[in-house]
C-alpha cells in the first residue's frame, strides 16, 4: 500500500516537472519569437555595430539557440528573471509591487462569486425545472456570455458617471494618493493600519464595482458547477433513504447532500480564483487598476520580452499549482480516490 502511494506520488511529481519544463520551453519560444530585438531595445536604433555586438555578446544572443535555452533555464533555476526593459527594474520586484492590487481585487471578487454562486447553485438544483431554476440559468448564461470589459464600461457609465454611487478608475481618488504609507501593498490593510478611514472608504468605493463585475463572471461558473454537483448527489440513493426516514428537505440538502460536495466546491472555487487572473487582465485595463493584468498587457504592447516571459511563466505556475492543489484535496478528503 505505502509502496503504491509512493509510486503514485513520484509519478505525479514527475508529471509536474515535465509540465514545468514544457512551460519553460513555451515561454522561451514566445520570447524568441517576439518581433522586438532585445539588443536594439537596450541600445536604441542609432548605436553603431560594435556596441551592438558587444551588448549582444553580453546578453548571450550570439550563442546557438539550445545554449540560449540552457542559459535561460539556469537563470530561472537560480531565481534570475531578468530586468524589465520598460521600467528598468528587476521583473520580480515589479511583479511583487503590482500583485497586491490584483490579489485585493480577486479576493473581493471571489467572495462575491462564491458567496452568491454556491447558494444559487444549490437552489437551482433543489428547485430543478421550476421558474427559479430557469431564472438562475439565464443569469449564469449571461455571466458566461458577456464581454467583461464591456460590462465594466457600462458599470462606469451608469454607476459612476450617471448615479455617482462609486469611485471611477484607479484604486483611489487622485487627492488620496500617497497619503497612506505602503507597507503591505494591500491598500485596504494599509489604510486600516494607518487608521486613515477616509482613504479606506475611498479605496472601498473604488474597489466595489470592478470586484463585483469580476465576481459576477466567476459566480456564473461556480453556480453552474454547484448545480450539477448537487443534482448528482440528489439523484443518489442515500438521499432517498434520508427522505424516507422522514428528514426535512433542508436537513437532507444541507446535512447530507451538501456535506458530500464540499470538497468539490473547494476545488472549484480555487480554480475560479485562478481564472480571475484572466478577467483581471481586461477589467484592470478598463478601470486603470495598477495590477498584474495591466502590467502584463502594457509590457506586451511595448514588447518588453523579459517581463512578458516571466508573467506568462507565473500564470502557468499558478495554474499548475492550483490543479495540483485540487488533486491533493480530493485525495485527502475523498477516501475512495486513495
Amino acid at each position: 500500500m505505502t509502496h503504491e502511494r509512493l509510486y503514485a506520488g513520484a509519478r505525479q511529481a514527475a508529471t509536474i516537472l515535465v509540465t514545468l519544463f514544457g512551460l519553460l520551453v513555451l515561454t522561451f519560444c514566445i520570447g524568441r519569437l517576439m518581433p522586438v530585438d532585445p539588443v536594439r531595445a537596450i541600445i536604441g536604433e542609432e548605436a553603431d555595430p560594435a556596441t551592438y555586438n558587444m551588448v549582444a555578446e553580453r546578453l548571450g544572443m550570439d550563442r546557438p539557440i539550445y545554449e540560449q535555452f540552457l542559459r535561460y533555464l539556469g537563470d530561472i533555476l537560480t531565481g534570475n528573471f531578468g530586468v524589465s526593459i520598460r521600467t528598468g527594474q528587476s521583473v520580480i520586484s515589479d511583479i511583487a509591487h503590482v500583485m497586491p492590487a490584483t490579489i485585493e481585487l480577486a479576493t473581493f471578487a471571489i467572495i462575491c462569486g462564491a458567496g452568491l454562486g454556491i447558494p444559487l447553485g444549490i437552489l437551482a438544483a433543489v428547485r430543478r425545472n421550476t421558474v427559479i431554476d430557469h431564472v438562475i440559468r439565464v443569469v449564469t448564461l449571461l455571466g458566461h456570455s458577456m464581454p467583461i470589459f464591456w460590462i465594466g464600461m457600462i458599470g462606469l457609465i451608469v454607476f459612476y458617471a450617471a448615479l455617482g454611487l462609486v469611485g471611477g478608475g484607479g484604486r483611489m481618488s487622485d487627492y488620496n494618493i500617497g497619503l497612506v504609507p505602503e507597507t503591505t501593498g494591500f491598500l485596504l490593510i494599509d489604510a486600516a493600519m494607518a487608521g486613515d478611514w477616509e482613504v479606506f472608504r475611498d479605496a472601498l468605493n473604488h474597489l466595489v464595482l470592478p470586484a463585483s463585475i469580476l465576481g459576477y463572471s466567476s459566480m456564473a461558473y461556480i453556480t453552474r458547477m454547484t448545480r450539477s454537483f448537487m443534482l448528482d448527489q440528489l439523484n443518489q440513493e442515500y438521499v432517498v433513504t434520508a427522505r424516507v426516514k422522514g428528514l426535512s428537505n433542508s436537513r437532507t440538502v444541507w446535512h447530507h447532500a451538501f456535506a458530500n460536495i464540499r470538497v468539490q466546491l473547494v476545488t472549484i472555487v480555487a480554480l475560479a480564483y485562478g481564472s480571475l487572473l484572466e478577467g483581471a487582465v481586461l477589467i484592470e485595463t478598463v478601470f486603470s487598476w495598477p495590477g498584474f493584468g495591466q502590467y502584463m498587457t502594457n509590457n506586451m504592447l511595448v514588447g518588453d520580452m523579459n517581463a512578458v516571459m516571466t508573467c506568462v511563466l507565473l500564470v502557468g505556475i499558478i495554474f499548475i499549482f492550483l490543479n495540483l492543489l485540487s488533486d491533493v484535496l480530493y485525495k485527502i478528503f475523498d477516501p475512495r480516490t486513495r
Binding site: M146, L277, L301
Partner: protein, 302 residues
C-alpha cells in the same frame, strides 16, 4: 462467400464514406426538429442565422458606408438617420456593426477549420495508439490547458505581433487542446470495439482506421464542443481587439470599436453600448445553441 467479398473493397469504403458525411448529417433534420422545440436553442439558432445573413447581405442591410468619415456629424446620439448614433469620426455605428459581422464570422470559421481537424487528429491518434505516443501528446496538451485561454492568446499575439490574422492564429493555437482531450476520451471508449478489430483484421492501416472508422464516431461530440467554444472564441477575439492586440482600429471589429469608443464613453454611451451588446448577443447565442445541440445529440448528459 469469403468475408472479403462480403465486406469487400468495393462496397465498404463507399458505405464508410457515405457514413462519414451522412452519419452526423443524416440526423440533422431530427436535430433541427429537437432544437426548434426548445425555445432557448431556437433563439440561439435564429441569432446565428441572422449573423450569417448580415455578413452576406451587409452592403444591402447597412444604411451608410461603414468607413465614410463625416466630421460635422461626429458623436451624434441615436436618431432616425443613424439608428445607433455615430462615432468620433461621424461613421454610422449601425453600419459598422453590420460589417463587423463579417470579421466575427471569419474569425469563427477560420478558428473552427483549424481547431476541429487538429484536435481530432491529435486526440484520435493519441487515443488509438496509446502508450508513449499518448503520454507525449497529452503532456503537450496539458501544458496548453494549464493556461487560461485569453492569457495564452495574449502571449502568442505579443510574440507574433498585433493584428487580426495573428489574433486568429493565436486563438486557434489555444483552442485545440480541449477538443483533443475530448476526441481522445471518445476514442478510448471504442478503441477495442469489434468493428475496429474487424477492419484491422482485414488489413486496414492505422491511418485508415483512424480516419475512416474512429473520426466519424467522434464527430458529433466534437461539433458540439466546437459550437460551445465559439462563445469563448468570440469573447477572446473581442478582448484582444479591445486591448489593441487584435484587429486594428479602422476595421469595424466590435472589440476594437469599444476600445476607441472608450475615450468618449462618459458623454457618448452609444459608442461602447451597441458593439458590446452585439458581442453579448452572439456569444449568448452560441452558448444556447451549444447547450441545445448537446441535449439533442446526447440526451444522457442531462
Amino acid at each position: 462467400m469469403t468475408i472479403k467479398s462480403l465486406y469487400g473493397t468495393e462496397t465498404m469504403p463507399q458505405a464508410r464514406v457515405s457514413q462519414f458525411f451522412a452519419g452526423p448529417m443524416k440526423g440533422l433534420g431530427a436535430v433541427l426538429k429537437r432544437l426548434s422545440a426548445d425555445p432557448s436553442s431556437c433563439f440561439g439558432l435564429v441569432v446565428v442565422v441572422i449573423l450569417v445573413l448580415c455578413a452576406i447581405l451587409a452592403p444591402w442591410i447597412a444604411t451608410h458606408d461603414p468607413n465614410l468619415v463625416d466630421l460635422p456629424n461626429a458623436l451624434r446620439a441615436p436618431d432616425a438617420a443613424n439608428w445607433f448614433g455615430t462615432d468620433e469620426l461621424g461613421r454610422d455605428i449601425f453600419s459598422r456593426i453590420v460589417y463587423g459581422t463579417r470579421i466575427t464570422l471569419s474569425i469563427i470559421a477560420l478558428v473552427s477549420i483549424v481547431v476541429g481537424p487538429v484536435g481530432l487528429l491529435v486526440g484520435t491518434t493519441a487515443g488509438y495508439f496509446g502508450g508513449w505516443c499518448d503520454t507525449v501528446m497529452m503532456r503537450i496538451t496539458d501544458i496548453f490547458l494549464s493556461f487560461p485561454g485569453l492569457i495564452l492568446s495574449l502571449a502568442f499575439v505579443a510574440a507574433l505581433g498585433a493584428g487580426l490574422e495573428n489574433a486568429i492564429i493565436a486563438i486557434a493555437l489555444t483552442s485545440w487542446p480541449p477538443i483533443a482531450r475530448l476526441a481522445r476520451a471518445e476514442t478510448l471508449t471504442f478503441r477495442s470495439a469489434d468493428y475496429i478489430s474487424a477492419s484491422r483484421m482485414q488489413g486496414a492501416s492505422s491511418l485508415r482506421i483512424i480516419v475512416k472508422s474512429i473520426m466519424p464516431m467522434c464527430l458529433p461530440s466534437v461539433l458540439v464542443r466546437i459550437t460551445l467554444s465559439m462563445a469563448t472564441v468570440i469573447l477572446t477575439a473581442a478582448g484582444l481587439g479591445f486591448l489593441g492586440l487584435g484587429a486594428q482600429p479602422p476595421l469595424p471589429e466590435w472589440g476594437a470599436m469599444i476600445a476607441t469608443g472608450r475615450r468618449y464613453m462618459l458623454d457618448s454611451w452609444w459608442l461602447v453600448a451597441f458593439p458590446g451588446a452585439a458581442i453579448l448577443l452572439v456569444s449568448l447565442a452560441f452558448n444556447l445553441l451549444g447547450d441545445g445541440l448537446r441535449d439533442a445529440l446526447d440526451p444522457k448528459q442531462r
